[in-house]
């Protein structure tokens, strides 16, 4: 079981030093998948033969000195909304359950070029719409710490896979918290970079102005290393940003000295579980002891972020998901009368309840007569929220926050009341609205034995600050190991 407890960087070092072969590493993960995934359901697709074939090729390139990077030979899991040529990409939806993409996403190609071995595609909420991984067409994923509980979502499969050792690290995507919240629920580390940092080419779009791909791993160094590998300007993504510096691992100094950390009072009021609150504030104290300057401040407009987000995200989703019409790819209904009836029946049978709910809301807020009152209004509120964060970042380098008001709920508790579920996104959603980077780092366990994560939020292009804070904090504690990995 030793391999499964290694971080990506340390496994990469052992592979380079020939202490572990790529095949051994791949087999260890495949063995854990075989053992655990009937229960966990972290994966939608696993292709052992293909993974072992890749392992062999990567090993040859390492031996020939062609692959020398830190991730060469390390097995990875990819969320099933990122295209990987040569297999299925389903977005956890019936409408794409037989879809074989004709090309791969840029992030995946970059990982492959760095010598990653792709184990398979991970489960998620259908089209990334959900906070629990229960809206998947392929059934829910279970939390490796306690299988009665959800792993969070929408990147629940990726987070559960990393927590359980089924994969050494994973890619997720984050539109409203979908990397950071499940990372918190599963006791792993996940970062959503500044909007435009990782190419969205080949990521099936949900809310295009909000979506970002990011790494999920065991620790901050892994996240920084993977981000360094997948980030970069891509002419195939029109919102890709040319950054001056992609050297994220440079930020891992081990010191928090001089970092100005702000804690928004509004994030610590009603609705926050007392155990989560204590754990987050303990993390703040630990950073203070490391030399950070920590103080409280007022962050206005917090309660308006969720309504603004759901209008914008659903509007974009309703537009993005128009392409699923049963014509060129994906599911097509069996019986229909004419073109429009085919569209409607295909979509009604192909999409699940949560996806339909969001398409309907999105179509409504974009319809003539309601566009100004809802959609434009939400975009104006977004501008106000952005201004509030801009002002906060004049005084602080990092905003410290919970990732979720509670630890992971039990399966079946969340879907009956959608608005209640949406309220759980309170601490993650503004980060997407404002294009900011955010990282979740494990910070403790509650009395039920479920993980708690602390979130560090930075200004745009300041991943260095949150990586520095996260890494310095990580050095102050011993990480808990998931029971399935012991």
């Amino acid at each position: 079981m030793d391999i499964l407890n290694l971080t990506a960087v340390s496994l990469g070092e052992k592979i380079k030093a020939k202490e572990v072969s790529v095949k051994e590493a791949t087999k260890a993960c495949l063995g854990q998948i075989e053992k655990q995934d009937k229960t966990l359901n972290s994966f939608i697709t696993v292709e052992p033969e293909k993974a072992l074939e890749q392992a062999e090729k990567v090993q040859q390139k390492i031996d020939a000195g062609e692959l020398t990077g830190p991730l060469a030979g390390v097995p990875v899991a990819v969320k099933d909304n990122m295209l990987v040529k040569g297999g299925l990409t389903t977005c956890a939806s019936h409408i794409l359950d037989h879809f074989h993409p004709a090309f791969s996403s840029t992030a995946v190609e970059k990982l492959q070029a760095a010598g990653a071995v792709i184990l398979g595609k991970t489960n998620m909420d259908e089209f990334a719409m959900g906070s629990t991984t229960e809206t998947s067409y392929f059934g829910p994923t279970r939390n490796p710490w306690n299988t009665e509980h959800v792993p969070g979502g929408s990147s629940g499969g990726s987070c559960a896979a990393v927590a359980s050792g089924e994969a050494i690290y994973a890619l997720g995507s984050d539109t409203g918290g979908s990397i950071r919240q499940p990372s918190s629920f599963c006791g792993v580390t996940g970062i959503k970079p500044t909007y435009g940092t990782v190419s969205r080419y080949g990521l099936v779009a949900y809310g295009s102005s909000l979506d970002q791909i990011g790494p999920i791993a065991k620790d901050v160094r892994d996240c920084a290393t993977v981000l360094e590998t997948i980030a970069g300007y891509d002419p195939k993504d029109s919102t890709s940003v040319k950054r001056d510096d992609y050297g994220f691992t440079k930020a891992l100094t081990g010191s928090a000295k001089g970092l100005r950390i702000g804690i928004p009072e509004e994030y610590f009021g009603e609705g926050l579980d007392p155990e989560v609150k204590k754990s987050i504030l303990d993390a703040a104290e630990a950073l203070k002891a490391q030399g950070a300057e920590v103080s409280y401040f007022h962050l206005p407009l917090v309660e308006y972020a969720i309504p603004a987000y759901y209008i914008i995200a659903c509007a974009e989703a309703s537009s993005n998901l128009e392409r699923f019409d049963g014509v060129k790819y994906g599911y097509r209904t069996k019986e229909y009368e004419g073109l429009h009836n085919m569209y409607k029946k295909t979509r009604s049978e192909g999409f699940g309840a949560e996806v339909k709910r969001r398409i309907i809301l999105g179509s409504f807020v974009l319809s003539s007569g309601y566009y100004d009152a809802y959609y434009l209004k939400a975009l104006r509120v977004k501008a106000l929220i952005k201004k509030a964060f801009d002002e906060a970042f004049e005084k602080y380098d990092v905003i410290l926050a919970p990732a979720s008001p509670t630890t992971a709920p039990k399966l079946g508790e969340s879907l009956s009341d959608p608005i209640q579920m949406y309220l759980g996104d309170i601490y993650t959603i503004s980060v997407n609205l404002c294009g900011l980077p955010g990282i979740t780092v494990p910070c403790g366990m509650d009395s039920k034995g479920l993980p708690i994560g602390v979130q560090f939020i930075g200004n745009v292009f300041r991943e260095d600050h949150i990586l520095q804070a996260g890494y310095a904090y990580e050095q102050t504690r011993t990480m808990e190991i998931c029971p399935l990995c012991r």
Partner: protein, 97 residues
């Protein structure tokens, strides 16, 4: 104020969303939409007059490039996903009368 969505509006949204909902589904969708609108109406508490709508965080401009083919012929892979095809073309229901 509680939002009430009329049958006509539900019908119209169904056309825009290209979704065909059964009786019970439609009633649930209406209730969900009404509840969600009641909730997002919270934004009306804010005075946003004079605030420009912000669609993107960073300025978004048209990105131009020369119209040169950089990828190969992907038609085989593309057609392999077609729900119905004939002679390398997608089969669709009759679209004109």
């Amino acid at each position: 104020m509680a939002n009430v969505i009329s049958d006509e509006t539900m019908e119209y949204v169904g056309i825009l969303a290209k979704l065909e909902l059964t009786g019970e589904e439609k009633e649930n969708a209406r209730k969900d939409l009404e509840k969600m609108l009641d909730y997002v109406d919270k934004l009306n508490e804010l005075d946003v007059s004079g605030v420009e709508p912000m669609s993107h965080i960073f300025p978004v401009n048209n990105v131009f490039r020369e119209d040169e083919v950089t990828n190969g012929d992907g038609s085989k892979d593309t057609m392999a996903n077609a729900p119905a095809q004939k002679d390398n073309q997608f089969i669709v229901p009759k679209t004109i009368g």
